[in-house]
């Protein structure tokens, strides 16, 4: 599983994760409060220029924005058809600008740095009993399980194909669910033995 982080360094890579997050939330608030076409258009143009300044590292993740571009187009088209092109334009530009800013954060900030920030923000919740310190372990486990689970799915599918000549489809879900739960039980035992409890 590859993170969306880009190893090709840009000027934004050097900025601390905290600074980027604060800037992102401030910019997001400004975007939400701006309601007139000219303001949003200027903001969107500025965001586009910032995004372009990342160079190829940004454009490589273009596919992340493709779906949003289509959705924004639909929204703008819909409001145009309803006789309210201004509202459509504002919504579409706002969505695209916010998404591009967020994508810039994702491309230029390492997973571990974001995780550290998150753990710090969530640490007050420790008192409510939220296992904040285990987030990293849980995400690691999740990725490992996902790999294992996908491999099991393909093995079951191959077996089904060998017997019937067709792909198993939804029929495989039940055996897959049970196998996955059994794997999880074994891992739970191992974890309980090592971490206690």
């Amino acid at each position: 599983m590859r993170s969306l982080y880009s190893t090709r360094r840009t000027w934004l890579h050097g900025v601390p994760a905290w600074t980027k997050l604060v800037a992102l939330s401030l910019a997001g608030t400004v975007l939400m409060l701006t309601a007139e076409v000219r303001g949003i258009a200027i903001a969107a143009a500025a965001v586009l220029a910032l995004f372009a300044s990342l160079g190829p590292a940004g454009w490589r993740q273009w596919r992340m924005l493709r779906g949003l571009l289509i959705a924004s187009g639909l929204i703008a088209g819909f409001h145009w058809a309803m006789g309210n092109p201004a509202i459509g334009l504002v919504s579409a530009l706002r969505i695209m600008a916010a998404a591009m800013l967020a994508l810039m954060l994702t491309i230029t900030t390492r997973f571990d740095d974001l995780l550290t920030v998150l753990e710090t923000i969530l640490s007050p919740l420790r008192r409510l009993g939220l296992p904040v310190g285990r987030i990293a372990l849980a995400i690691g486990l999740t990725l490992r399980f996902a790999e294992n689970f996908y491999a099991q799915w393909q093995r079951l599918d191959d077996a089904h194909r060998a017997r019937t000549g067709r792909s198993g489809g939804l029929r495989l879900l039940a055996p897959l669910a049970i196998r996955a739960l059994q794997t999880a039980e074994r891992v739970a035992d191992a974890l309980a033995a090592r971490l206690g409890g």
């Binding site: 993170s3 994508l103 490992r144 059994q182």
Partner: protein, 196 residues
């Protein structure tokens, strides 16, 4: 096989991570097109399963963990999407709907199972189907529609109409979820469905 009757936090961690992985893998499985042309992805089936099988508390942790992993930049949503940007999209309401839908689904399932402990037949199927319906359709659509209204400036009626196309596919998912919950109850008798 060890019993899963007692669920301490370290043991839970394994199940939470597993089900977060299930939601992720359901995003990798190619879309299935129903005969009447409605495309469905399996990720919301994962949400229903989490609610029915894990109960409200751990369902909350599971979906929360999944969303945190997505927000940190892992491309776990269907189509390989991820990062904070997905929370700015018009469909972001659904992501919040996943979190609360899974919890509501879990609460509903627990209430059913406390009234009929050990049910394995039709009762279990109906309980799981209704719980998925409430959590995976009613609650999820509520937040999805709210998100559409805010991000796309649609009226409530317009947003609701836009969602209707997905109802048939999601009803099928509720049925699949019910059958899966029943298979798990039969295949793993130690799995407790009435636990919180």
């Amino acid at each position: 096989m060890t019993t899963t009757a007692t669920m301490t936090s370290t043991r839970s961690l394994s199940y939470i991570a597993l089900f977060a992985a299930v939601i992720a893998v359901f995003g990798l499985i190619p879309k299935i097109d129903l005969p009447f042309g409605v495309p469905i992805t399996l990720q919301s089936l994962g949400i229903m399963l989490v609610g029915c099988l894990l109960g409200p508390k751990r369902a909350f942790y599971t979906v929360g963990l999944f969303l945190v992993a997505v927000a940190l930049g892992l491309p776990l949503l269907s189509g390989g999407r991820g990062g904070v940007a997905v929370f700015a999209a018009p469909s972001a309401g659904f992501l919040l709907g996943w979190l609360l839908g899974a919890v509501v689904c879990g609460v509903s399932m627990r209430q059913f199972m406390k009234r009929m402990p050990g049910a394995k037949g039709k009762g279990l199927l109906i309980a799981a189907f209704l719980s998925s319906l409430v959590g995976g359709i009613v609650v999820m659509y509520f937040f999805g529609i709210l998100g559409l209204m805010l991000a796309a400036h649609l009226s409530a009626t317009q947003a609701t109409l836009a969602m209707l196309a997905f109802v048939p596919g999601d009803l099928v998912k509720c049925a699949v979820c019910a059958v899966l919950v029943q298979s798990v109850a039969r295949g793993m008798p130690s799995w407790r469905l009435d636990r919180d």
